[in-house]
């Protein structure tokens, strides 16, 4: 079901204008770990100042030179081939520098583990996006 991260694919927002705000992607992301809720979600759909003004989808865009990794004091965020990062949970000290460094706001926080939530670009969320807002594309 998962696209292995070694295949170097990237989650892509194909067209945010098509988003209806159902948030099934967010629930799917958290559900990867088996439980329900949103504590582990690495994606956020929210309105742009009220639902009447439309919606925006916030998720890691797999930067080639990711600022989150640059500010990590313990090297817990490792560069992923062709963009994005991996999180080494054992090294992370929960300093939140990465959250601050991401201008997109795509590094979310897991309050239950006190660690960042990093998108692994598995594409599971896109399988529940009925409106083709999300998709997976090859990075090369």
């Amino acid at each position: 079901m998962y696209v292995s991260s070694h295949e170097v694919k990237r989650l892509a927002i194909l067209d945010a204008e098509r988003c209806v705000g159902c948030q099934l992607c967010m629930f799917a992301c958290s559900r990867r770990f088996g439980d329900g809720g949103l504590a582990k979600s690495a994606i956020l759909v929210r309105s742009v100042g009220g639902i009447e003004r439309g919606l925006t989808v916030i998720v890691c865009r797999a930067c080639l030179d990711p600022p989150c990794a640059r500010v990590c004091p313990t090297d817990a965020l490792k560069l992923r081939k062709h963009g994005g990062v991996f999180l080494d949970q054992t090294k992370c000290i929960g300093c939140r520098n990465c959250v601050e460094a991401c201008d997109i706001g795509a590094v979310f926080w897991d309050y239950e583990t006190n660690k960042p939530i990093i998108c692994v670009h598995c594409g599971y969320c896109s399988q529940f996006c009925h409106y083709k807002v999300l998709g997976v594309e090859k990075t090369i």
Partner: protein, 586 residues
């Protein structure tokens, strides 16, 4: 149930003391699932004796169910309170993000009791309630503005609910609504007035919890199946494509669309205000409740020029549904799309229930035309389709500049009791009529349904599927059966639009990985019990089924089943009373 599920936690908020506490109520959630099942029990505990709807003693209970946030299409919040409109049990459901927010803040139910001296708004998070000064928000003329201010005032963008009342709630209009996420509502039966009486302008709820799952593998399997059913089903496609507004044309075709205060059941403007036409000309966006892929919320845009300057426009986004197109369209003889949308926009801005407001305007128009009331009462002329005056009247209902508007703000039952015209005051048990004049099922359903709503037992649907009505007794029993089953849907807070997806088998399967083992029989039995618990509660709160009055207009305007006979409906009501008395005495 899974003992680690935070669903069992009930948050109690006392506005008088500005205090809160959390109780473990696994007893209630084990026995009554959640939603309406649990809310009825909590209401019984909180209101041991009869209470006044607008007194501090009236508790407001919000509850959600075990499926909420775990499966799609189960994102409804049930609100239970005593209704200032009917003087009896008030039950209203809303979608948006409300249910998910409550669930992920770690609660199964929230009880708000007491009253504040000063206006306030609540910010509810996991284990924390803030009582924030709402004085600056009180009296703001447009409820949308309140939403905008509250959005900036608290954290949790995208995953919080922002409930608020409009000026109608502040002014205690008996059918004031609570608005959530701009386009969803606890519309019916006056929850807005109850919160207004407590001086609660808004409630923000935020949470990001995990919900532990007992059988993770099975959970994902069932989830995937329900998701595929949801996005693949024709029924759901209907709600996505045109939304509930799809009903206008077929209802008009069969002669079941209440028009001009039900003087007719066909509307010559139906082609104009139907879902197809609005979608083609005005539909701007479709959006969804949280955790529902259907996206039935249809939002139209209208562009209005300012008269004082060329090329100066305002663009407004207005959500529409069948009930609104009926109550503020056909029922008032409003034939232009933009006019209906402007009326909807006014109702939204004031924070009123659209159905009750439309039916109140319709009653007032007929009463005015018949000379029962005059311009001394109404202050403006009333005529079908005159929307500038209707907009003024809606504002008067909220401001209540004279005794007449004070009365109209209490609904058609009270207004007609005082001024006359009861025979065409279209309410059932005090709640204004929904947009279906389909036959016996609709009328009996409005009368005997716990909320006096078409959603209680869907008699209007039965009317559209049967050729000949069965005997009155059989009809009542059929409708009660349906209402009993809907107690299960409403305890699991499944959207009623998804009732065909969540059939008995699928519900049983969906509950299993969460640690519930129900048989079909047990589930149905629980539905029956919840129904009678609710009926008992209604009787305790002063409901007198023998006093149910059917406005004679209902018998004067044909339905697809012809003109209805009063005797048939009276026999049906007699049978209902007999059944209720028998069951509730047990």
């Amino acid at each position: 149930m899974n003992q680690r599920d935070p669903l069992k936690r009930v948050l109690y908020i006392d506005l008088s003391r500005k205090s809160f506490w959390i109780d473990d109520r696994v007893d209630l959630f084990e026995r009554w699932l959640g939603g309406i099942g649990v809310a009825v029990q909590l209401f019984k505990e909180e209101a041991p004796k009869n209470i006044e709807p607008l007194s501090p003693e009236n508790p407001v209970i919000f509850s959600i169910g075990p499926l909420t946030s775990l499966y799609p299409l189960a994102s409804k919040t049930v609100a239970l309170f005593k209704s200032p409109l009917t003087g009896n049990l008030g039950e209203s459901h809303a979608g948006g993000r409300s249910a998910i927010a409550i669930r992920l803040a770690g609660y199964g139910a929230i009880i708000i009791k007491g009253a504040s001296q000063l206006p306030l708004y609540l910010v509810i998070k996991e284990g924390e309630v803030e009582f924030r000064d709402g004085s600056a928000l009180w009296g703001i003329s447009n409820a949308n503005t309140v939403g905008r201010i509250l959005r900036e005032a608290a954290i949790g963008r995208g995953i919080r609910t922002i409930m608020r009342i409009g000026k109608a709630g502040e002014k205690l209009v008996s059918y004031a609504a609570v608005i959530t996420e701009t386009y969803r509502h606890f519309g019916r039966l006056g929850l807005g007035a109850v919160l207004g009486s407590k001086k609660v302008k808004g409630i923000i709820i935020y949470g990001k919890h995990s919900i532990p799952i007992q059988d993770k593998k099975k959970y994902r399997e069932i989830y995937d199946r329900l998701y595929r059913l949801a996005v693949g089903s024709d029924a759901m496609k209907r709600y996505h494509d045109l939304g509930t507004a799809i009903n206008i044309l077929p209802l008009n075709y069969i002669g079941a669309l209440p028009t001009r205060n039900l003087n007719s059941s066909r509307f010559e403007g139906a082609e104009e205000i139907c879902g197809e036409n609005i979608a083609e000309k005005k539909l701007a966006r479709r959006v969804a409740c949280a955790h529902c892929p259907i996206a039935c919320i249809h939002i139209a845009s209208i562009r209005e020029p300012y008269p004082d300057e060329p090329y100066f426009y305002k663009t407004t986004f207005i959500s529409y549904d069948h009930e609104l197109l009926y109550s503020l369209g056909s029922m008032l003889g409003v034939k232009k799309i933009d006019d209906v949308l402007r009326l909807i926009d006014t109702v939204e801005a004031m924070g009123l229930d659209a159905i009750s407001t439309g039916v109140c305007l319709a009653w007032a128009t007929e009463a005015y035309k018949r000379g029962i009331i005059t311009i001394n009462e109404t202050l403006v002329e009333l005529d079908w389709g005159n929307i500038d005056n209707y907009i003024q009247v809606i504002k008067y209902i909220v401001e209540q500049p004279n005794d007449f508007y004070g009365m109209l703000a209490r609904g058609t039952r009270e207004a007609s009791k005082h001024y006359g015209g009861q025979e065409f005051a279209l309410n059932f048990g005090g709640n204004e009529m929904p947009g279906y004049h389909t036959g016996y099922g609709a009328i009996i359903g409005y009368s005997i349904g716990s909320r006096h709503s078409h959603l209680d037992c869907a008699g209007y649907r039965v009317d559209q599927t049967i050729k000949e009505p069965p005997s009155p007794e059989e009809f009542v029993e059929l409708l009660i059966k349906e209402e009993e089953w809907r107690q299960i849907l409403n305890s699991l807070t499944i959207c009623l639009f998804a009732r065909s997806i969540y059939n008995v088998e699928n519900i049983i399967e969906a509950l299993k990985p969460l640690g519930y083992n129900y048989t079909e029989e047990e589930l149905k039995k629980t539905g029956e019990e919840i129904y009678f618990e609710k009926q008992k509660l209604k009787l305790k709160l002063g409901f007198k089924p023998e006093e149910l009055k059917i406005p004679s207009r209902v018998f004067e305007t044909p339905t697809p089943h012809g003109l209805l006979k009063r005797e048939y409906i009276e026999e049906a009501l007699q049978h209902y009373i007999k059944l209720i008395e028998y069951k509730t005495l047990q």
